[in-house]
Symmetry: C2
Subunit: 230 residues, 2 copies
């Protein structure tokens, strides 16, 4: 009975528990503030304990990506390629928007994790079965780029902290020095006149660009485009 004294036997760490804890911690404090030490503390454990479950921080990040990618819904069958691809990409987007760090982490990895590779494979498959040549599919995948994973590559990342109200307000460089930027920012006219990426309906912009591309793809497919005269 003596062992009941030190009672609250911690549920033991697993790779999975580590990864999930890392995901919620990154959601909370931002990816750049996520450290092995803080993660360990969150799990009530000494930093080095984590290394029994992940090889190093790189692998931790890879694992976190896989957790998020695992949230993407499986593809639907039957629809035409454009609807199917659109739907799947928007689902990926839904999975990623909840974890604002994910896009940045995915980009920074030097290669796809298995889960990402599987997702890519399924998207490629949609084009192929939709009547795209291998050649065209290849270029089309490039053109999609990170949009395939559901995130637009905005020019500048959103501020990383979990604190969106601490906006330093755009420098407002001497009023009229950038007339076109001003005009555009003025027309967007939301909560504040910031430049591209704030005060915009991100979902709309995403779908706008996505559909522009998908329509372009369809046009090329119909006319039997190939990278002939390359």
């Amino acid at each position: 009975m003596a062992e009941q004294a030190k009672a609250v036997r911690r549920t033991p760490l697993t790779r999975d528990r580590v990864l999930r804890a890392a995901v919620v911690l990154a959601d909370d404090i931002g990816i750049e503030a996520l450290s092995m030490r803080k993660l360990a503390q969150e799990l009530g454990v000494v930093p080095m304990a984590l290394y029994k479950h992940v090889a190093n921080k790189e692998q931790l990040l890879d694992g976190m990506v896989d957790v998020v990618v695992g949230e993407i819904e499986p593809p639907v069958a039957g629809a035409d390629w454009q609807k199917a691809v659109r739907r799947r990409i928007l689902s990926a987007r839904r999975a990623l928007v909840g974890h604002s760090w994910a896009a940045q982490v995915i980009r920074s990895r030097s290669g796809p994790t298995p889960a990402v590779l599987a997702y890519m494979d399924s998207v490629i498959g949609m084009f192929r079965t939709g009547g795209f040549s291998v050649d065209l599919t290849h270029h089309v995948m490039h053109a999609l780029g990170s949009r395939m994973m559901g995130f637009t590559q905005e020019l500048f990342d959103a501020p990383p902290g979990p604190d969106p109200r601490t906006r330093p307000a755009p420098p407002q460089e001497d009023a009229g020095q950038y007339p076109y930027v001003r005009e555009l920012a003025g027309a967007v006219a939301h909560d504040e006149g910031s430049v591209l990426g704030q005060g915009c309906d991100d979902q709309f912009e995403f779908e706008f660009a996505l559909d522009l591309l998908l329509d372009g793809f369809e046009r090329l497919r119909r006319q039997g485009w190939s990278s002939a005269g390359r």
Copy 2:
């Protein structure tokens, strides 16, 4: 004459010298290996000396971006909007490809530096004078995203080190586990069967996607598109 003894009076640091040194150092050793300490050493100076010229590392990175952006050629006048935009974007691309770290750094900044803002302003201006409404220009800029700066957002960054031959060779996950990826990689068939982004003609892919978008923009412009039923 005594001061000639300790002779080789270092040419004094300036903000400009610091930034330029940082750029070439980053070119050499990669952005993630660039530290204030190494940069100081490169300049034959103690680390803290740098802080007399840049406020902190963030500002150093901002400054480095401006150096690179400064290499973009000014716009040409006279051509139709599509040619002009295309040309300017490809020029931006040329300026950025020589500094493989630049894209990543630009993305990671939370807001545009003045030089970047000026560049964006000029691009926006090209659309406006080309007959695009403010509304359409806005969405079009979003759709371009980072492509406006000349870099495609590939799904995964190239390996950051200055050492492209140390490629760990793609994991080759159990041969046929990702059939479509395999098919596509096989068809690309360059030096090695890696996935998307290696062994591809990046310039071709960039122009392919760029032209797809620009053509789409022109179509929308001609039909007087507006985000009406939003």
